[in-house]
Amino acid sequence: MSDAASELAATRRLRVAVHAADVLRRNALSRVVAAAGHIVVGAQDAADVVLADGDSPPGETRPVVALGRVDADLAGALSRDASAGQIDAAIRAVSAGLIVRAPDAMDLGFGAMRETDSRALLTPRELDVLAALAEGMTNKAIARRLNISLHTVKFHVESLFRKLGARTRTEAVAKASERRRHETIML
């Protein structure tokens, strides 16, 4: 291995402190970080990068990758529902001194409380089906997971398409995620 290559290999595992108010989010983000081959460290431990769900801790001086927040001090800004691949890439990039901005994170902005027309609101069951669609599952697999008939799955998928104004499964997932981004209420 050349010197340059061994240096790369040595820097591949990064120490990442995960900051999130919600314990489920913290666990999920810690899993993403660990699965990408990094070491999850405690909030106060020495870390190469801080991954923050929303606001980073005040006065943080280490490079921060923030989800769902953009300001000019941040080294990295991704949307709240960034993929595992984006999170890993952003962590590596900011540890190398780069600035990372996801285009959809720049779409954030000071917006109005949006309320979907009640006829277009999804039911909890439709949200379950949507989560499965987002994982790329087939109707058959969804039926098995939710313990419902194939016919019922098709019914839910059609209803999702209608309510979200989508023609394909990918489009339905994208539109639902956009809705979630704009309409999640923190109370």
Partner: protein, 300 residues
């Protein structure tokens, strides 16, 4: 022909004069990575800027007209109205600004700081001047002012002026890069509160919510067609302590239906902190009521 040219020249000169005059009403708020945003000199020792673009820290530096650098401390920030106030270590001579009323179709001049003590200018129209609105973070904004103006990232937070040079509001970005203004009336209302307490106290349960349709089978017992599903619960927050779980669908708070969120927002003003609230919700097919104690929302 000569008359037209004169009019255009007059128009152009008037704009340039306004931009020149506005230079002393703005500062550049320095950020990392050689960047900055714009702030308005609200009083000789106070600067108002866009909360969403200011990092979470206490100490800042601003560049005033002519290029002098002044230290500033965060005096208060309110994410719900996107207003932050910085207190300057010294004072800056600034022109007094008259508040103006936005009118749809009127000319709007947006001023930004160039970072070295000068100004940049953008011209456009008030695309829409509408009624009051609620932000996604629960704040009341006195008027909806949408601008047909391009704005650079570093110009955010600068003053938006009308043709008479009156202050319509502070420029900022809405979703998808839309340029809007926070009306002067909102800034006048919020700044004194921020100077008093450093924040606008709001009630908090510690949940992220998304509107959902109530399943058909439960509509009758729930007595409403939609509610707010709990997507996540903040660890040790009031909702978590009351045993509220992700997946619960909140139907009402103290008898006020969650069908329209803005009605609920009124229940979580500064007077709500410490109050007990009855939360009616659906959990695994049954309607139940849980009592919570509203806490104070911490910074952002």
């Amino acid at each position: 022909m000569t008359d037209q040219a004169d009019l255009l020249t007059q128009f152009s000169n008037a704009l340039a004069t306004r931009a020149e005059a506005a230079k002393s009403a703005i500062v550049a708020v320095r950020l990392r990575h050689e960047r900055h945003i714009t702030g308005v000199v609200w009083r000789p020792d106070l600067v108002v800027a866009s909360e969403q673009s200011l990092p979470q820290r206490d100490d800042f530096e601003v560049v005033a007209a002519g290029g002098s650098v002044v230290a500033a401390k965060m005096a208060g920030r309110d994410p719900a109205t996107n207003i932050a106030v910085l207190r300057l270590a010294g004072s800056i001579a600034s022109p007094s600004i008259a508040a103006g009323e936005a009118r749809t179709g009127a000319v709007a001049l947006a001023i930004g700081a160039d970072g070295t003590g000068g100004a940049s200018a953008r011209l456009g129209l008030v695309n829409l001047a509408g009624a009051e609105w609620h932000s996604s973070r629960g704040g009341l904004i006195d008027r909806r002012i949408v601008l047909d103006v391009r704005l650079g990232r570093r110009e955010e937070g600068g003053p938006v002026l009308d043709a008479a040079g009156a202050y319509l509001g502070m420029s900022t970005f809405g979703p998808r890069g839309q340029v809007i203004a926070i009306p002067t009336a909102t800034i006048e209302r919020i700044v004194p509160l921020l100077l008093k307490d450093g924040r606008i106290a709001r009630g908090w349960l510690g949940v992220a919510l998304q509107a959902v349709a109530v399943p058909d089978a439960l509509r009758e017992s729930a007595d409403q067609s939609s509610g707010l599903m709990v997507m996540s619960v903040v660890e040790n927050g009031p909702a978590a302590q009351a045993g509220i779980l992700a997946g619960d669908i909140i139907l009402s708070v103290d008898g006020t239906s969650t069908r329209r969120f803005r009605n609920i927002a009124k229940h979580f003003g500064s007077d709500s902190i410490g109050r007990k609230a009855d939360v009616r919700l659906i959990r695994s097919g049954a309607v139940m009521t849980v009592q919570t104690t509203i806490a104070e929302r911490h910074a952002a």
